[in-house]
Amino acid sequence: MSRIVVVTAGLTVPSSTRLLADQIAEATSAQVSARGESVEMDYVELREVASELATFMVTGGIPTPRLTALREQVAAADGLVAVTPVFNASFSGLFKMFFDALDPDGLTGTPVLIAATAGTARHSLVLDHAMRPLFAYLRAVVVPTGVFAATEDFGSHGLSDRITRAASELAAAVLSQGDYSVGGFAPDLAARPRRTSGTQVESDVTPFGDLLRGHTGTD
């Protein structure tokens, strides 16, 4: 079974951001099931950890227990759905703070579906001008279709069509993950991207002889 984390940065309860996230999650589940597999969705409402994110930021990264759990959850996920409201022509500050709090290798190679909500369709390029570069920097694999929902879209068919297309792309990416075999050759496990939550002390430490090599002043 795969696990997909659905991160939403809506501020009100209920929020249209969460509404969109729910529709995407449901469509993704259906797409995974249609391929004979199963998926579990874990929802993360960033509003609930807003003050912990602020604490993390102003203390140079003191890990609160809940934030640590979320960072581990994201780093272990097979896929991510990220949904933000549009504020001042970009993702919200709360949304960015969460991704700033992740380990730089927390999402490496992870399939991500990006989505955003706004009052008008004039903000729709936020998907490609703000969200896509953010996840590209984090070396995540953003599926081609992003979902943008202006308020008026909640009354149109076009939205559910886009949701279905994006969900289908995410399902395919999640299910093909971990298969690094090429043309009948055995999978190259070394090519698998390194991911880490950054919350644990590395136990497989580099032996000191390797660290010292070239630095003894005599070699």
Binding site: M57, I62, P63, E202, F208, T218
Partner: protein
């Protein structure tokens, strides 16, 4: 076990009066803190090293030399000495000189420093932080242990036929700690040389400190310096005490709320829960501090941060007085009561290192070299 004070040497406005001490006042107050530490029976005073405002502590051996002249028993240490941006040749000279001045009352804690621009100001690149710590420290060890040094590395000009002067007191280099909050490479470095490992502890949850110390202990044993529980561990702690918990919180809260490092963020209560900060009675401090050994194991040095965030000198002196008279005597007794016989109480001191003789592993640049080669060979065979 050793107990002491470590200071970061920040010049911070007292939020209750709006007044910041002058640099002269702050330096004098740190000196007073060190003298008070000796007066009330604490063992160690450690100063930080910074090269940017709002800190005054740019010249640790000047300050420690002055304190050495005014004290008899106090062990002088650092928290930390920047092994990345300082020239290891100068560290070797300065601290050997301090050993001679103080009669061997010196040890040092190596750190990398966390202020980005300090690296370029001193001609270094922060991305080389770990490599600088590895190469510079290896050179420092060599300078203290070999009379004529021929050396060529990546980060400083080569040395041909160089002799560091003065040689360490009694031919015995000072004991060294390595401090790191989250770099496993530094725990590994401490373990490789059989040096001490210090965890700052005060900005982190105990699970993290526990994991770092466990890694160091495991590797200390791996390199053949002794059993994991015999490795030399030091911890930081942060306390503010009064006769009641309510009073301690009332007095400390404005300093906490406006502190440069964590002010305007978490509440005092949340921070107390997340980190080892204890604001309360001496009894509460004793109970919390004894609990540290439950997760890092029996350890050898406990340093407290008491003089920061604009706390006035009078309040800081009261804190040291309470530590010396009410807290540390109980901690000494209780920590020894729980310590197994084979676990050392104290870290190595100048006296114990001299007593161990010139053939002790401490006098080798790489005491674990043979062992590491054996382990590597065994791995290849297997």
């Amino acid at each position: 076990m050793q107990f002491g004070i470590f200071s970061v040497g920040d010049v911070t406005e007292d939020p209750t009066t709006g007044r910041a001490p002058s640099e002269a006042e702050r330096i004098a107050s740190m000196t007073q803190l060190a003298l008070k530490a000796e007066e009330v029976g604490l063992d160690v005073f450690a100063t930080g090293e910074h090269h940017n405002p709002p800190f005054v502590v740019s010249s640790p051996t000047t300050h420690l030399g002055y304190i050495a002249a005014k004290t008899d028993k106090l062990l002088l240490s650092t928290s930390t000495t920047l092994i990345t941006t300082n020239d290891p040749v100068k560290i070797a000279e300065d601290y050997a000189f301090l050993q001679h001045l103080s009669g061997g009352r010196v040890d040092l804690m190596m750190g990398r420093g966390n202020t980005g621009p300090v690296y370029p100001w001193f001609g270094k690149d922060i991305r080389d932080g770990i490599k600088l710590a590895v190469e510079n420290y290896h050179l420092l060890r060599t300078l203290w242990r070999e009379e004529k040094v021929n050396w060529q590395g990546q980060f400083r000009t080569p040395l041909q036929g160089y002799t560091s002067t003065p040689a360490p007191l009694d031919g015995t280099p000072p004991f060294v700690w390595h401090g790191s909050i989250r770099s496993s490479e530094i725990a590994e470095q401490a373990a490789y040389y059989g040096d001490g490992f210090f965890h700052n502890h005060i900005f982190w949850n105990k699970e993290h400190t526990e994991a770092m110390v466990r890694l160091y202990r495991r590797r200390f044993e791996h390199y053949g310096h002794g059993a994991a529980d015999q490795a030399i561990v030091g911890l930081g702690g942060q306390v503010f005490m009064a006769s009641s918990e309510a009073e301690a919180k009332r007095v400390f809260r404005p300093y906490f709320d406006n502190a440069p490092v964590y002010g305007h963020g978490p509440s005092l209560e949340d921070f107390t829960e997340m980190t080892p900060l204890t604001v309360g009675t001496p009894e509460q401090v004793i109970e919390r501090t004894l609990g540290f050994a439950d997760y890092v194991g029996d350890y050898q040095r406990q340093l407290f941060l008491v003089d920061h965030a604009g706390l006035p000198t009078s309040l800081v002196m009261e804190q040291v007085e309470m530590l010396g008279t009410e807290v540390v005597p109980v901690l000494r007794k209780e920590f020894e009561r729980r310590r197994p016989a084979h676990v050392p109480s104290d870290p190595p001191t100048h006296a114990s290192l001299v007593a161990a003789g010139p053939d002790a592993p401490h006098h080798l640049v790489e005491p674990a070299r043979a062992r590491a080669e054996e382990l590597a060979a065994a791995k290849v065979d297997a």
